[in-house]
């Protein structure tokens, strides 16, 4: 029966093809907007969360200073901002399995390829950075030169690719840092396709970093046991948030303000922020879909008027009111369905196209996310939308008196 209705509907849709296609176009635009916005929004959310998930859910990042993460976000540092954390404190906290320390200082750097001197951020890394937290730094890939452990006491440094270029040195070259000579043991090669040069970790841009063992930095600068960023991995079976809380308390006991950041907390924030934006965007797109629905309704009212005699004939040959209703609902549902299917395809195409620009803008790999629920949902929803838009016209058709319908000119 439904198949018969579909065939009959298809005949009448094809018969007024320009008008049908214009009506369908209205639905197409709405569905395209929704599919594009949701798939891109979901894609952005996924790619941001993926970056954070590389860090791992059981990693706590500890920064010195009291960032009011509850109210202001990371940019709003309060006045109480110390620049160092005691490395030793975190090792005492219950639940911490292993920790790593990074200390960054702006140091004088002299290179043969550079005229004069530069003050650059030089980071001392504890060995655990590589042994336990290399994911945090995109795997810390050394493209040129030798692999590094940060355990060496010799004067060796690893450079980010950008800073190596600026300084005009390559692996095996020499640098003078604060008067000490260092050998460039390697240069980082971050995979542009797959990595994002540290966009989402709390270190910052790896391509512009100079990395040497924490012990070397301490030898240069003194002030042992201090860190400007501490990473802690907690045991699998403990509550990460609880440990983060304990870490903050431990630091406050020694009068050091600290801020802990967990992947879970970030992913919640990202989810809720992007979720709100997505709902707002989808709401705007839904308005265009509503307009598409009104278009379907308009077309169906016209169709009922035009086909009044046809309805009369159908009733004369035995069609019941419910069958006429079903026929017109199928027809309007079909308009929605075709619009939904085309809109879905156009939406997929459009967001794939847009993703190339978004990748450039984010300077990170980006793929829009098309969940099956989005694709099936878009089509199902447009069928339902079409049918609902057809309810009133179809009711009008079904209630026509056969004699009057046959008399209609």
């Amino acid at each position: 029966m439904l198949l018969d209705y579909l065939i009959l509907s298809w005949h009448s849709i094809r018969n007024r093809s320009l008008r049908s296609w214009l009506t369908i176009l209205g639905v197409v635009i709405g569905v395209t907007a929704i599919v594009t916005l949701i798939s891109i929004g979901q894609g952005i959310q996924n790619s941001i969360l993926n970056e954070f998930e590389k860090v791992g859910y059981n990693t706590v990042t500890v920064l010195p200073g009291n960032f009011d993460t509850q109210r202001g976000g990371f940019g709003n540092a309060s006045t109480d901002r110390s620049s160092y954390l005691e490395r030793g404190i975190i090792e005492e906290v219950d639940g911490v399995k292993v920790s790593a320390a990074i200390r960054s200082e702006n140091l004088q750097v002299i290179s043969e390829g550079l005229e004069g001197q530069a003050f650059l951020r030089v980071s001392g890394m504890s060995p655990e950075v590589l042994s336990d937290f290399d994911d945090y730094f995109e795997g810390f890939p050394v493209a040129e030169g030798e692999r590094f452990s940060f355990e060496s006491e010799e004067n060796k440094v690893v450079l980010g690719s950008d800073v190596a270029e600026d300084l005009g040195v390559s692996a095996g070259g020499k640098l003078i840092i604060e008067g000490e000579e260092f050998t460039v043991s390697g240069i980082l090669g971050l995979d542009e396709e797959n990595g994002s040069s540290g966009q989402f970790n709390f270190y910052g841009d790896l391509d512009n970093g100079l990395f040497l063992p924490l012990s070397s930095l301490e030898a240069l600068y003194g002030n042992k046991g201090k860190a400007s960023l501490v990473l802690a991995e907690v045991y699998e079976d403990v509550d990460v948030a609880e440990v983060a809380d304990k870490i903050e308390k431990a630091y406050s006991r020694v009068n050091t303000a600290s801020t802990t950041i967990t992947t879970e907390e970030i992913s919640n924030r990202v989810n809720s922020a992007l979720g709100t934006i997505q709902i707002a965007l989808a709401g705007i797109a839904a308005i265009s879909l509503l307009v598409g629905g009104i278009g379907v309704m308009n077309t169906m009212y016209t169709a009922v008027l035009e086909r009044t005699r046809e309805i009369g004939v159908m009733k004369a040959v035995g069609a019941k009111n419910g069958q006429i209703l079903g026929l017109f609902l199928t027809e309007s549902g079909l308009l929605g369905l075709v619009g939904g299917a085309i809109g879905m395809l156009v939406g997929v195409g459009l967001s794939l196209l847009a993703s190339r620009f978004i990748s450039q803008a984010l300077s990170a790999p980006f793929t829009p996310s098309f969940g099956p629920w989005l694709l099936i949902g878009a089509i199902a929803f447009s069928f339902v939308l079409g049918s609902i838009s057809g309810v009133l016209p179809a009711r009008q058709a079904s209630k026509l008196q056969p004699v009057e319908a046959l008399r209609y000119e």
Binding site: D4, G312, N321, P402, V403
Partner: protein, 230 residues
């Protein structure tokens, strides 16, 4: 098979109320071929609509096979039309988006009969009305006579007890009209089908066994024998 008792019907056309039928009695028996004649506005089409369960009277009773259908609801009337009655219209009223075959098969769609059976029966009937080579043609590709043959085939597809034709030759030239009337007469003669033809063409009325003359919503002469004077 059809019995009308004191049937009255009025309807509104704009501001005015038209008293289309004013207390009318009529008996049509199985196998009858009745022509209803009269000037336009005499109520003959309204009468036909009531006989065909397309409309119900304001007053009086309509008995179909002894059952009073005056208080049937819309769905019951639809069932009746679908099973017992076949309609042929002056303007053919074919659905112009459908082929001859689909037009003829359409009533069966509403009976939930499968596609292959529908098409088989429709093809048989189209062959019977002489259109076996026009199955896939759309109405616009057919002559008036051919369209009326399609509509007769459609009227027959439910195997109705009674065929109602409202000015079946009104849009046809006289030769074609004659062919159509011959076809209808044949149904009555060969199949014993009950037929009511509404017409104001005296030559059409000649085919009938009896003629009902209508004036001002009433039957003026009771029933008279047709086929005679012309």
């Amino acid at each position: 098979m059809v019995e009308l008792q004191n049937v009255a019907k009025q309807y509104k056309m704009g501001e005015t109320t038209v008293r289309a039928l004013r207390g009318l009695d009529l008996n049509i028996n199985d196998g009858d071929f009745v022509a209803i004649v009269g000037p336009s506005g005499s109520g003959k089409s309204t009468l036909m609509h009531i006989i065909g369960a397309l409309d119900i009277p304001d007053e009086g009773r309509v008995l179909l096979d002894g059952k009073d259908i005056s208080d049937y609801d819309e769905n019951e009337l639809a069932d009746l039309r679908g099973n017992k009655v076949g309609f042929v219209f002056q303007t053919f009223n074919l659905i112009h988006t459908l082929s001859s075959l689909d037009n003829v098969a359409l009533p069966l769609t509403f009976h939930g009969i499968g596609k292959s059976e529908r098409e088989e029966r429709a093809a048989e009937l189209l062959e019977m009305v002489g259109l076996s080579d026009r199955l896939t043609h759309k109405p616009a590709e057919l002559s008036g006579g051919e369209q009326q043959r399609v509509s007769i085939a459609r009227a027959l597809i439910n195997d109705p007890d009674i065929l109602l034709a409202d000015e079946p030759t009104g849009n046809l030239d006289s030769d074609t009209g004659k062919d159509i009337m011959e076809l209808i007469k044949g149904l009555n003669r060969d199949r014993g089908m009950t037929i009511v033809v509404v017409t104001h063409n005296p030559r059409d009325a000649e085919y009938a066994d009896s003629i009902v003359n209508m004036i001002d919503g009433k039957i003026s002469n009771g029933e008279s024998e047709g086929g005679g004077d012309g």
